[in-house]
Amino acid sequence: MSEPRSTQEWPLWEVFVRARRGLSHQHVGSLHAPDATMALRNARDIYTRRSEGVSLWVVPAAAIVASSPDEKDEFFDPAGDKAYRHPTFYDIPDEVQHL
């Protein structure tokens, strides 16, 4: 039997899992799938088979807009010396808990 091979790889999808109600979805990894429906099923099989989650998102990796390493300096360095942006300059009364 001839085995014609597809020259087209399946697209890449990024997978986000919500571990339980009240938490936000966290990025857990990526996978290949031919379309969104199958991506969701593959995500279920690969990332939640040990009860890791109660909700799944899959997003086409191509749809993610990422910051560029070239812009790293102007994007992130200016925040480095602005310690006053951290809420650490307040005296917190001893009675306040869970902060």
Partner: protein, 255 residues
């Protein structure tokens, strides 16, 4: 259940359902590291492990109902071919992905219908196993459905191979719904399922998928039969040899 009179029947019945699950689990396990994509390796392995879990519960229960002290391992690894009572559909060799998906669609639709009714069994153990398994098998059927739709409605090549897969599996469909005396006795007492009642819903679901996929319902030129009586296809001996080899070579070996 009305226990002692029924116990041998229940043992055989649990063995049938357990053998179906065990043999299909073994077949699906053969795909690991061979599937078209890494993602499918994992999907098929998950399905195989669901089935293996069902098989363990059912074979353990079969051994207990039989009352001769046989464990799940004894039943899985130390019986010969003629003592296995699975339907022949589950032993069909994997073939290409089209054959496997055709087998998955046909069998999981049958198994889902069966477990759905068995959930209300008067036998608590069978009802419990079915209640847990029904969610697993609903996913198995969905997985197969998604693939049959995509392959049937895909390229000429995928369509032809999906159709060929259906042709390969179809002669084994009627056997799924063949009720015998034991099954009729058990369904009359509310323990088992009269599989002949599952045929119409099975046809409706599978025909619906085939229509959406642009596939043609095959006409079987021959019909398989006899799995429940221990009559199996040639491929089955090879499957058993591989499955049982380790246990028979190293009796009592454990992890």
């Amino acid at each position: 259940m009305s226990d002692t009179l029924l116990a041998p029947d229940v043992a055989t019945y649990a063995l049938r359902l357990g053998d179906d699950a065990l043999v299909l689990a073994q077949r699906l396990g053969e795909w690991v590291a061979n599937a078209p994509q890494l993602e499918e390796d994992v999907a098929l392995a998950n399905i195989a492990l669901d089935l293996l879990g069902q098989a363990r519960s059912l074979l353990t229960y079969a051994g207990a109902s039989e009352g001769q002290g046989r464990t799940e391992d004894d039943l899985a690894f130390l019986r010969d071919e003629r003592a296995f009572v699975n339907v022949t559909m589950v032993e069909i060799a994997n073939g290409d992905f089209g054959v496997t998906m055709a087998r998955q669609l046909c069998f999981s639709t049958y198994q889902l219908g069966l477990y759905d009714v068995l959930r209300a069994s008067s036998d608590e153990t069978l009802a419990g196993v079915a209640g847990k398994a029904v969610k697993e098998v609903a996913y198995h059927r969905d997985h197969a459905t998604q693939w049959v739709l995509r392959l049937g409605d895909g390229t000429d090549e995928s369509h032809n191979r999906m159709q060929a897969g259906l042709e390969r599996v179809w002669p084994h469909v009627d056997e799924l719904f063949e009720a015998d005396d034991l099954e009729r006795r058990l369904s009359a007492t509310g323990v088992g399922v009269d599989t002949s009642t599952l045929r119409a819903p099975w046809d409706a679901y599978v025909d619906g998928v085939l229509a959406r996929a642009g596939l043609t319902r095959p006409d079987a030129s021959w019909l398989a039969a006899g799995g429940r009586r221990g009559l199996h296809t040639e491929a089955f001996g090879h499957l058993l040899a591989e499955m049982q080899h380790l246990h028979r070579s190293h009796p009592g070996a454990s992890w």
